[in-house]
Each structure stands twice: as structure tokens, then as C-alpha cells.
Symmetry: C2
Subunit: 485 residues, 2 copies
């Protein structure tokens, strides 16, 4: 995974310091003895906890004194029952690959890692239903499914280290969402353990595609960021692996033309369209200046669209992409367009999109965003920010999953101007997004980073509701405290 060196300034401003809640008990020797009795001595870690107390970007640092590594739901249940009784705060942690600090303790919360819960794996290749423990690594699941010609319905940069339980708890998005939908489209059932007086182990939903026999409460855990219960097992649908993947790049003069091209792609590529990514000219600039990567489109257009299809017949798919490109060119919507003729050509296209993050970190201090916007306003945000920041920023760079309305707006600055840029940007950006019907966190979540802004645009009654729902599962409020609920 690419390692971005993000601005300490952006963090300092966003994550305000929250005092430790004195109602939470401090861990003592008896607690540790109890935990050792449950999971065994070697699964109660009290030393060298750095990797659990901080994230890969080193933005967040917790002060947990204890990491537990249970391997069964029963062990999780015994731990949570004890923590409930003693009122010990707990942070569930999966692969710890998040970008907003949701899985990092704020103070001395016990870390409950699901990493060792990786035994159960069962796949029915007739129904495409996977049933497994929460601790499996996404990429390992992907590899296991390959022998049946299936794959996971989502894909992320962090796939080599993120765990399926964490993917579900954060309702991870990623690059296949346009084609296969969100995780709500795929989850059928969850095993969750609640931090209540019984350490209740709940089997919510089932392994069936259609089941209308109760409330569909498992969906509540998607995007809950570990604040309701600990996901220990999952049943979900997987998708057939495509036999043909095609890539193409298109240049457009205006964002309005990009919208029209998206509309045509949905019609002409229909069922095989799997990615519709946008990179503006500044994205190409930051790639050229820092990595010497050349745009595959010679015309250096204001907007570059990277389009991917996934289908079951290569000849059919290539014909569809050809016909789509020709249509866009003949209508004057595209000023340039090229279909990858080989795996190598496709790789050169995708290298541009995937290297944008690293090129930015080489460009200066980076202010990153992950917002959703209605397409009317998608690029207007960039234009408004360009106007507002003037020459305080070094660059204003926008790329993102345009097909999903998900924009990654980035600004870079020199070290000297970073503080000034911060003042110009916040809370302006988040206010603008909410005012224009957008979301301040499309796929990364709230965690610690966006906690001060989590309530933007949310009426008080919604906040009360969320708290009341948490109380149903976590009556003493011990699970992942100091986060968005």
C-alpha cells in the first residue's frame, strides 16, 4: 500500500483533543489474569503495542496497555461480558488500514483484535455464498475464490492487509462499487458479539439471498465503525470473475462533457461498465513533475476519463468499447480517446490513477478530501476552492470515482503556507459540501479525523436516534468511545 505523508496541520485542526472519560475503569492485574484465562497468555499482549496503537500513516497514537487476540466468538463474548461488568473501554480492530483513525484507541482502551479469527471458510460455488470468520485478509479471500472462478464484490488498495470484518464495519467502497454495488448489496448475515451483560452472540440475517423473517438488523453494522458490536463472522454473496477486462482513456474539454460521456457509457457499455474514473489536468501535472509519468493521451486534455469494463466475452467487450469510443469522438464529446491493446497498455493507464497519491506526497504538504457530491456540483467544488485559495496553494488536484460521485480533492502547499491554507480551507470545504447535498465522508468514514464535522447537516433528532440505537447493543457505552456516536 502506498504510504502518504499527510499534513500534521490538517490533523491537528480536525481531531480535537478529547479528555479521557473517568467513568471507564483502568485495567488492573486481575483483568489481565482474567483475559489470560480466556484466550491464553500468548494472546494477551502488553508490550510492543505500537502497531496496534497507531495507524500506518502515523497520524493517530493511542495509549492502550493491552491487546487481546481472541480466536472464537465465545472468547470475544467472555471478554466483552467482563469489560461490560467492569466498564472497561474497548476498541475493536481488524487490519488497521483505515485512513481516519477509527480503529486506533484515543486513550487507554483495550484493543480487541480479530486478526486471529481466520479459521472458518466455507464457499458454495452454486449459490456464490461465502461464509467465513472476520479475520480473513481480503486478498486471501480473493485468492481462495479464484479456483471456483469467483471473486469478492469489492476491491481496495489495502487488500493485502485489510480484514473482511473491518471492511464490513466501515462499509468499504473501493473501485468495483459502480459495477457490483455497496456492501449492503452483498451482506446476507453477520455474527456479532455485543458488549452487554451476557456478551450476547447474535446471528443476524442468514446465508440466504432472500429472507424476510425478521428485521434486517445486520445492515446496521455496516459503517458503524465498531461502535455497536464486534463482527466475528460474515455470510455474503461473491461475484463471478470476469473473463475479459478492457481499459480505455478519453480526453474531454469540460466537466459537462464528462457527465455526458458517463451517461453514454451507462447505455452503451451497460452491464460491463466496471470503473469510470476522472483525473483532471492538474493530476497529470503532479504525476509528470514528481514521477515523470506521461499522460497516455497526447492532447493533454482538461479532463481525463479512465474507463474499465469487466465481462465474459473478450470479442464482445472490445467491440462495445470500440463503438462507445467512436460514438463519443463522433459526437464531439471526446477530444481524444484510446483503448488499451494489451495488458501493458492498460497498466500504463491505471498506473496514472494509482500513483496520484504518492505523487502528491512528493509535491508538498497535502490536504486530502474524500467527499461525495451530486454530479452537478462534483467539479464546482474544485473550481470554488481554486478561486478561494488563490496562490496560497501550490496545486489543486482532483481525481476520483466519478461514476459513484466520489471526489478526491487534494491541495498541496509549501511548508510555510500550510497553516494559512488550512485556515482558508476549513471548515469552508465541509460546509460547502453539506450545503450542496454532498457527504463529507464518502468511503473513508468519520473515525477521529472528521469527528468535529460529523454532525454537519445532521438534525439533532438523528443524533439522538443514533445514540439510542447504540444503547440497544452497547448499554454501558464501552465500545470504541470518543468516535462519531
Amino acid at each position: 500500500m502506498l504510504k502518504a505523508c499527510r499534513s500534521g496541520i490538517q490533523r491537528r485542526g480536525a481531531a480535537k483533543i478529547i479528555a479521557r472519560d473517568p467513568d471507564y475503569a483502568r485495567l488492573n492485574g486481575q483483568d489481565l489474569q482474567f483475559f489470560e484465562g480466556i484466550v491464553g497468555k500468548d494472546r494477551v499482549l502488553t508490550e510492543n503495542l505500537e502497531t496496534y496503537n497507531s495507524d500506518w500513516s502515523k497520524w493517530y497514537t493511542g495509549a492502550s496497555q493491552c491487546v487481546l487476540q481472541p480466536s472464537t466468538s465465545e472468547e470475544v463474548s467472555a471478554i466483552l461480558r467482563h469489560c461490560h461488568d467492569r466498564r472497561i473501554a474497548v476498541v475493536p480492530q481488524a487490519g488497521n488500514t483505515g485512513l481516519v483513525g477509527a480503529s486506533i484507541p484515543v486513550h487507554d482502551e483495550v484493543v480487541l483484535s480479530v486478526r486471529k479469527m481466520d479459521k472458518h471458510f466455507e464457499f458454495d460455488d452454486h449459490t456464490g455464498v461465502l461464509s467465513c470468520d472476520a479475520g480473513h485478509i481480503l486478498e486471501e479471500l480473493e485468492n481462495k475464490l479464484a479456483k471456483w472462478n469467483y471473486m469478492m464484490p469489492f476491491d481496495l488498495g489495502a487488500k493485502g492487509s485489510c480484514l473482511i470484518g473491518g471492511n464490513l464495519a466501515t462499509c468499504a467502497g473501493g473501485i468495483r462499487l459502480l459495477r457490483y454495488g455497496s456492501l449492503h448489496a452483498h451482506v446476507l448475515g453477520l455474527t456479532v458479539v455485543c458488549p452487554d451483560s451476557k456478551g450476547s452472540i447474535l446471528e443476524l440475517g442468514s446465508g440466504l439471498r432472500k429472507d424476510n423473517t425478521s428485521l434486517h438488523s445486520h445492515h446496521l453494522f455496516l459503517g458503524s465503525e465498531g461502535q455497536l458490536g464486534v463482527i466475528t463472522g460474515v455470510k455474503m454473496t461473491c461475484v463471478t470473475r470476469p473473463l475479459s477486462v478492457q481499459s480505455a482513456m478519453i480526453g474531454a474539454n469540460t466537466f459537462d462533457d464528462c457527465r455526458k460521456i458517463l451517461r453514454i457509457a451507462k447505455q452503451k457499455l451497460g452491464e460491463i461498465l466496471s470503473s469510470f474514473e476522472m483525473m483532471d489536468r492538474e493530476t497529470m501535472g503532479v504525476l509528470k513533475d514528481n514521477l515523470e509519468f506521461e499522460n497516455v493521451l497526447r492532447s493533454d486534455p482538461p479532463f481525463n476519463l479512465l474507463i474499465e469494463t469487466s465481462g465474459s466475452n473478450e470479442a464482445h467487450d472490445r467491440e462495445k468499447v470500440d463503438s462507445f469510443l467512436e460514438h463519443c469522438l463522433s459526437q464531439g464529446l471526446a477530444m481524444d480517446g484510446v483503448q488499451a491493446q494489451s495488458h501493458e497498455e492498460a497498466r500504463l493507464m491505471w498506473r496514472l490513477r494509482e500513483s496520484a497519491t504518492i505523487a502528491l506526497t512528493m509535491d508538498g504538504q497535502v490536504f486530502k478530501h474524500d467527499v461525495s457530491l451530486p454530479l452537478d456540483h462534483f467539479y464546482r467544488l474544485t473550481e470554488e476552492v481554486q478561486k478561494r485559495v488563490g496562490n496560497v496553494a501550490k496545486r489543486v488536484v482532483t481525481y476520483g470515482h466519478m461514476g459513484d460521485g466520489n471526489s478526491h480533492l487534494n491541495l498541496t502547499s509549501t511548508k510555510e503556507k500550510a497553516e494559512e491554507l488550512y485556515q482558508v480551507l476549513y471548515p469552508f470545504v465541509y460546509e460547502w459540501v453539506v450545503k450542496h447535498g454532498g457527504s463529507i465522508s464518502a468511503e473513508h468514514g468519520i473515525g477521529q479525523l472528521k469527528r468535529p464535522y460529523a454532525n454537519f447537516g445532521k438534525p439533532p433528532r438523528e443524533r439522538e436516534l443514533v445514540k439510542a440505537l447504540k444503547a440497544v447493543f452497547d448499554p454501558r457505552s464501552i465500545l470504541n468511545p470518543y468516535k462519531f456516536i
Copy 2:
């Protein structure tokens, strides 16, 4: 919609009589005056309420004295606030096309109809996001979307009269689920009104494909059968209308061969596969004997598979279906197979599937089922039931959405043997389904019909959880009482 004359015996056994809860207030003149002040005199109905007090099959009969027809969320809010304060029980009702009596009062509950909430309609053809009131008829939405070449992501027999709000409250399945996923894959946000002291109007979720800024609590309302709150508005994704629809029928000798054919269809038809329906030989028998419909397959195979594709290129789709059929025949999995060469030929195939319900009602007393089963057990249920009922039943007929694991097992009997058949079938069928990892209600819900069986296989803690979740939204438990929660 076809009108099935279902067995009074099946109903009598399933829906046990529940006494009126004396804690609910009886409606008085002041209440009616209050309601008239909110929605106007002509929207408070107190006479000729038969169509609101019973369902289309005339199975269920309520005794409501008052039907309210609000047209805005604010009116719904004022009504529910009043009902909360007075503790008046309320049944939300949409198109009233359900099959299990979920939207019919059990006693004298006030009926809150959302039928008049059909003003707001907004569609963004770039993102495919629809925002509308809950009272729109599904087919009318489908027709409105046609001008943008979009369609609703699900389809039902009741589309001419069911309302989108009811579709969401019951998490309706239908015949496009295999291709487009359940409604969880499409709902982005809901407006719901809660029966609490404020009559809270909640905007849950948003109109964005990606939004991770709060709990995804709108998903809790899908399948809640109107027991948490009243859905008054929806934001959801719609799908591109296919340019080519192909149908084919395949005959197979064994159910195991059907499973193998499904596996091949997922690989070879992949992204265009939109239906995979199974009808057994007895289904063809009931169609022939009662409607004189002939099977389009001359070989009269034990299993008939009706397969549909929806795609964007007719030549490509026909080629894929051809190649798929050839493969199944050459592998010896299919004993017979035919691709529809015209719209008329396709119609003859689908007429078989769609007329099975009416043919059954002409065959005798009908015992209907709507269950989900893992494919291992899908047809074993039929075989077990065949053995068990012997010659007490006239016929044992199975068809269903095999691609979704959803079996519609039907039994017919003479009038004389109906009681005996009932005794042989229940609770055996539901117990067998739960024991083999299935669901006793795949898409029709629980309502009044399956209330006695709703807890089969559900642990007590799940029941407590469901009640606690209801209490968050409906603190005085006035909404749709006597149903599954």
C-alpha cells in the same frame, strides 16, 4: 394481478386469533375532529372501508373505523404525534397488495394510507438516482423512467397497484433480484416519520451512492413491515433499461443437473443473466390439465429451466445464449433446449411461469409456500413432502426463482382431504425448512399468516433485540401491532 383463491384451512391454522390489547385507546369524536383539522374532512374516511380492511385475496379482515389519507410528511407527523399521545394503534398501508396480511388491521387500528403521497418525483439521469414520495405506483415510476432509458431495479406481479413505500417496507424481491440485487443494493436514503412524542420526521441516509457519515439506519426499515415508522419518501438508484432481452428454455433430467446448469449460466451468461426460473414436471401438468397450455419443450422433462438475459447488444446476447445452450447440450446436462426467436415465442415461455398460480387455483384447494433454501436442499423439500403426503394431496407442484434459492412449493387437494393435508403439512414444512438452513418467508414476509412460525429457529436474544430496536422508534408500541415484532 392474478387472484388466487387460497385455502381457508391454511389460513385458519396459521393466523391464530389475538385478543385486542385493551391499552390501546378507542377512537372518539374528538380524535376524528383532530384528524380532520390536519388532513381535511375528505381525507378522513369512516365509511365504506372494506378495501382498507381486507386484502385482495379476502383472507384477512380488519375492523378499522377510520382511514386517514395524509399527503405530506408533516401531516403524517401530526397524526402520529396525536396517536402517540392518545395511544391509538395505527396500521400504515401502501398498495395493500401483500400476501400475508401485514398491512391489514387485526382489530380497530386506524389505517394510515400513503396513497395520496404521490407528488414529489425527481430523477437525475446522470447519476440514476430517483427521489420520490412513498405513494407512487411501481409501474408508474417504471413508465416515467422510460423516457431516460432507465427502469426500476425490481419488478413484481403487483406492479400495477403496489406502491414504492410498501415495496421498501416489505423489502420486496421479485424477478430482477438475481441481476440487480435486493432493495438493500439500491436504497440510499429514506424519509420516515416515527410515532413518538414529536412525530419525528427523520431524513436517514442521503441521495448519494457513497456516504459514510453516520449509522446506515435507513436499511433497518427494509423488511420492517411498517412496525418502526412510516416511510414517506425514498431516494434510490435505478438501472439502465436493457436494449436486448432474450429468453430460453432448457430441460434437465435431475435437479443436480439444474444446479450444474445454473453454475454454467453464471459463468457463460455472466453479466447479462437476469432470470433463472425452475418449473418441475408437475407444474407443466397443472398448466396442461387446467389451462391447456403446452410445454414449449417437446420432451416433457422432469425439470424445466426458464432463463432470461438482459443486455445492451442483441447480437452479442444471442451469441452468448446460443453458446451456453450448445455447451449444456454437448455436456449432456440439458436433454432439450430452445432459444426464443421472437417476442411471441418468449411470451409463450413466460406465460407458463406466470400462469402457474392461476392453474393451481383451478386444480383444487391450494397450500402455498414461499421459502428460501440452500440449493443442496432446494428440491429435497419437495421430495420429502411428496413422500410424506402420499395420496392425501392431489398434486405437489414446485416452481420458483431457483437463481435466488427461492422455492414456491404448492400442494393441491380436494375439498374433502384439505383438513387431513393441513395436518400432515404443518408445522412439518416450516420445521424442515428451518432445520435445513432455510427461511420460511423468502419474499412475502411474516404479516399475519406466518406470525405463529416467525420465531422458528430464532434465539430469544434476537427477539429481545428486535423489540428493543422497535422501542427506539415506536416507544408506545402503537405502530402495526399484533404482527411479527
